[in-house]
Symmetry: C2
Subunit: 433 residues, 2 copies
């Protein structure tokens, strides 16, 4: 029997705001940060996970993670790993903690960190990368990972089981295919709002040369800037190259419809986060008005109840998932299943710090065992901060290549965690000196 006797949370922040990496219409100066969790047995097995934030408030996220320590500390790790779905439901339905959401915000993301840490531990124990661990699971076990409450009418255990069973005969072949050809990536690197036209042009050219089949530009702060920048990008990329745009919640509903209509001539592949992420009916209204342009959202989607509504109402043509916004792998499996049933393509949100590393596992799993699709899909990719990870993503020729390293690729190098520890790590102490 292995007992969990170690639980450590860390506030790690990277001073990315200095170079305007990651700048967009709503987030002019993010410091990409991780509320980092490691727990397990001091004797050996340690699981890693984190919640991505963009700076201030990362300490609150750490406090929320700490408030959950009693769910794992002192517990039998074997039991926890045998039924991660059980602990996930216990945490989500802890009535006192539930009051602080429910199913949203800081506490919900903290639950995600604990759940994801358990999955990291289990994948390490079974000596498989997380994507493959999930992809090799029996349909019955996979369907048991989902919490079906509030999904009444949208997803039942039987439906999920059917979905996972249907993929069974194809899984081995798809694993081979994934290893052989990778999974499409798209890049946001050229499109940050703080970049000059010259930098945008240069980076777009480089993106295409590197093999990316799709890029994304930030929009929404100034309409004439957007039109100018999209013209620059179109000139570089050519008429038919997929260029998505992302407004980062900048608009009201009517404003979104007007603005998107003016950008329509550039044929955007999708328009992301046109308005407030909670406004399901607003997204529905926008989607109807700008059709056939596809509306995308999801990186701020708090969980499966919002996903269900976005999908069922036709509010999204593309659903985006985030590895650390919801209550972890289990809730993301529910969301992937909801999307697969309605045939809504999933384009995972990534970037930040550690998000590419984490979400690739979900996308690979989706291809092998859920939707069975990867060609009309792509994982977001941003080329920064990967050097801090023990098992960084492998992206080349515009594709993510699956890792074979056991775990969920969430482990950040110890020295990075020390160097960028906030507020006392050497990188912060020096920069404030």
């Amino acid at each position: 029997m292995v007992t969990v006797d170690f639980f450590s949370s860390e506030d790690v922040r990277f001073p990315t705001s200095k170079h305007l990496d990651g700048s967009d219409a709503m987030n002019p100066d993010p410091d990409y940060s991780a509320a980092y969790l490691s727990f397990g047995s001091q004797g050996g097995e340690i699981g890693h996970s984190s919640v991505f934030t963009i700076g201030r408030g990362n300490d609150v996220q750490v406090a929320a993670i700490n408030s959950l320590s009693h769910f794992v500390l002192g517990k039998n790790l074997d039991n926890l790993l045998d039924d991660i779905g059980d602990l996930y439901k216990k945490m989500v339905f802890d009535s006192q903690l539930r009051w602080l959401g429910p199913d949203k915000g800081v506490l919900h993301m903290a639950i995600g960190a604990v759940v994801n840490g358990l999955w990291d531990l289990r994948a390490r124990r079974e000596k498989k990368p997380l994507w493959e661990l999930l992809a090799d699971m029996e349909a019955q076990e996979l369907a048991g990972l989902i919490d079906y409450s509030y999904l009444d009418g949208a997803l039942s255990f039987q439906q999920a089981l059917g979905l996972f069973e249907a993929s069974q005969p194809f899984r081995d072949e798809r694993k081979k295919e994934l290893r052989l050809r990778g999974y499409p990536a798209y890049t946001t690197s050229p499109g940050w709002l703080g970049y000059s036209d010259e930098k945008l042009e240069r980076l777009a050219r480089e993106a295409i040369k590197s093999g990316f089949g799709r890029i994304k530009l930030k929009v929404g702060a100034d309409k004439s800037d957007d039109i100018r920048r999209l013209a620059v990008a179109r000139a570089v990329c050519g008429k038919d190259f997929p260029i998505a745009v992302d407004a980062n919640q900048r608009w009201g509903v009517r404003e979104a419809i007007d603005w998107i209509s003016e950008l329509a001539k550039f044929n955007p592949d999708w328009v992301e986060e046109p308005t407030h992420p909670d406004d399901v009916l607003g997204h529905q209204q926008i989607a109807r008005a700008v059709s056939p342009i596809r509306i995308a959202t999801g990186e701020h989607m708090s969980g499966r109840v919002m996903a269900r509504q976005l999908i069922e109402s036709g509010a999204v043509g593309i659903l985006q998932i985030d590895s650390s916004r919801v209550a972890g792998v289990n809730e993301n499996i529910a969301i992937l299943a909801l999307a697969a049933i309605k045939e809504i393509p999933v384009f995972p949100h990534a970037g930040g710090v550690g998000l590419c590393e984490a979400v690739q596992h979900l996308a690979f799993f989706d291809f092998v065992a859920v939707s069975g699709n990867k060609e009309n899909r792509a994982i977001e990719y941003v080329d920064h901060l990967h050097e801090h990870y023990v098992d960084p993503v492998r992206v080349s020729n515009g594709r993510y290549w699956p890792t074979d390293v056991p775990g969920s690729s969430q482990e950040m190098k110890k020295e990075s965690r020390i160097d960028f520890g906030f507020p006392d790590g050497p990188k912060w102490v020096d920069s404030n000196a």
Copy 2:
């Protein structure tokens, strides 16, 4: 010039779970708690506010409040009080903090605590109870308190201005009327799920004798229990007495429709929180299916974007507001205005600890200067923990009576805060001994 040089947060918890006060289908054992904030000038003016929670996680809520201290500490209090709307918007749109919501959960409620504390300070300074301070404001200033972003198409500055201007000629008369006749209350005291039928019967009888014109029962855990308990209540109250029921999010959508259909014969005045509070489309579906029974929700509504959707979609026949769930007085004014424009009656959520004290001010203000209505409305009332407040609610003959004490009635007695301080206050140390 007065500078803010004092900012103190406290974790205060009452061990209410011991007596099953407040037990319902989702919350079997709440410990009513306050993440308590006081700030201002050590020389004199101190504002008080709190976020209500039900126990575990109250420490995380306190941490979130602390993360906002820099917005007020060291600032000129006169400037802050002159334009509370400005600070409210600064906090809500702080891009780094916004990532942790946006507009929801622990961080959003923490913003509410700071905003509400400023209103408490301003009301004290102007020597008026908060409800009267707001009710005496010029329409122009009131309309300026609202953040209209994401309300595009639902509420504009001009519409809000029109609403507040329309009330102007009636406000003095309504203030008199309020002081003369009070504001209707309804009570949940008889209906907690943990109570026996005998206790329910006795408390319902007492509620009617005390002058309450409406009671509410918790339902949703067991259908035959609900039917039996509603029969008991109907027998005591008579055929036409308004009895509301509250399922506290227990059901899925189809389950809610079936269950409510079986309770329909008891003619419930409304059915509260039938399903997940984020499920706007689910509430819409339920409301259509069980019409004319009214669906109510709102105590877990994260803010104005959700309120707008619930109202516009016809998902609610009654909107409930909570004083500490959203980003404070300013956001609640937006929600009251949204409801008034669509003529949706507001029945404020209260109970817990400090919620009755806080929310009465919003209801009184709504009557005087927003909806102009109070007879088809009522504020929830639960008779416990009021003794811990410096200016406790005045409820008699089934009505709330307006306070004349300057401030927002949010100040908890110092000795209560010490006694029930968690985990080191004497009441907790003794009970764990």
